[in-house]
Amino acid sequence: MAEVRLEGVTKRFGATVAVADLTLPVGDGEFVVLLGPTGAGKSTTLRLVAGLERADAGRVLIGGRDVTRAPPVERDVAFVFQQFALYPHLSVYDNLAFPLRAPARRTPADVVDRKVREVAALLRIESKLANRATQLSGGQMQRVAIGRALVRSPAVYLMDEPLSSLDAKLRAELRLELQRIQRDLGATILYVTHDQTEAMTMATRIGVMDRGRLVQLGTPRQIYEDPDDTYVATRLGQPAINLLPARLFEGTPMPRGTATVGARTEHLRITRATKGHAAGRVRWIEHLGDQNHLHIDVGAHKIVTLAEPDAGIDVGDPVDLALVGALWFDAAGARIRAGA
């Protein structure tokens, strides 16, 4: 395992800047998740580290060695692709053995066999070793794809939305499995996703990306509780943070210059309005079982928040809102930190 550093890396495709002046340190044994919507440059960043793309500017270092111009084979990375990329003409066993049999590695046959069986046991696909790669279910294919990365002990594991094509149950299972593997192996992992649950649960640190830039890098708690701007704030939280104009909360003390109030569900106290005047009205309730999603109209604005099913609030009820601590943002969307 090794640390990975990107220093001022820029990558353009024609006129499009996919990655702009990106500096990202990934510590040895760290699990860094890059989070962002489609087109934010997450996958390109991963491909730059792997050597599948070559940076137009900046440096890529793996284990302290400058590999900016090195071909993939010399970088000692393992890559898990979103679309699995299992070799359809090979069996599961041969797929897993493929990286070990590479001419660049020349692993003795008995070591190959031992490694393949170890990894197959780890991912619980021993019974499928003789199958053709195309005769597996989606979850099994994905586990083989991850297994193909695990048979080696590379400097860094690069994973590009490896769980996105799985159903919810399998995703949850593999999420735990990946965390366990990462802990057991002390692996350095750079992981790309647009799924906030994956980012929150697995990451040591999350890097939030937007249009090729790294907007904020921090622990999941920091990103969730202490976002630098509205963009980062909207990345995490279920339901998403409510961004409301400050004038809706006249009377609530807030820092000077606040234009937007970011209210997560835990920042909002919803009570049934008892007086004649009410701040908003419940438009819709989504029942999730253990919780309800309340959709509340506040003037022309809509708020989505959680409520206990036994809160006694119904559709059409007038409600009052109170803020209990919230995130303040200026007109440009930048965070105004309390006390600053």
Partner: protein, 323 residues
Amino acid sequence: MPAAGLSTAHSIVEPTPLARRIAGTIVIAYAVLALIPLVWIGLTSIKSPPDSISYPPKVLPWVDFEPTIEGYCNLFTTRSRQTPEYIASLPPADDRCEALARGKGMVVVGPSNYVPRFVNSVVIAFGSTVLAVVLGTLAAYGFSRFRVPLKDDLLFFILSTRMMPPIAVAIPIFLMYRELGLSDTRLGMILLYTSVNVSLAVWLLKGFIDEIPREYEEAAMIDGYTRLQAFVKVVLPQATTGIAATAIFCLIFAWNEYAFAVLLTSGSAQTAPPFIPIIIGEGGQDWPAVAAGTTLFLLPILAFTILLRKQLLRGITFGAVRK
């Protein structure tokens, strides 16, 4: 399409039984029509020369005419007429062809040129096919995976070489080959057929290779393989269908090509197509021998096509439906 037995519901995209029957009838009718010349060639090859040109034609063996291997004997041998006294003085004939020849007042004096011509056809057709497919695969891979300057123009240029009938350049090629000493050589014919086929091979194979996701090679390259090793280990095995289909198209062209073969070969490199029609017997064209030569000439391509018919079908319909 639902698997048989799973559903009896009728899908609107599936043909009705009536439509199926009509389509089946048309296909069978076409197959019969297309097979008549082949059957006729086969029948002619087992007729005697008079039977082969009799009118009205004799159709059914053992009913209309007595089958004979004379055509095949005449195809493989050269014979000369001898006096009855000389033939009578010979020891008894040791094979059927010799016996047949003596019955007509002739003796077999040696093998004909059919076998060497056939061998030329095999060497030239397979040689050019291998060359065209190898070059085509490499070029198609390059066009598919790399940023080639003027890629579209180059691809169009390659395709444009197929837009005129090849024979339109017969005279320049004839003159060029004479200057280069390539006339009537196997190498010359291999190069010629390769150059005609390689454009088809590039286009067909590019379609197949485009369908193979690049992630496979990227995965292999990260896993410790060079691009060439990834190409051999990952791309080639997945392109076998396309390569087989392309090979058969190239082979059929090179095997059947007649015009250039007539023009450029006459002796040592002559292929079977120009040789077969000029087999002369006593008193003119020896039709049974010609038919025998044609029948044997059809067999390799028939075998090859049957062996690879799945790939061939996919080769014809590739790109039409994606799985």
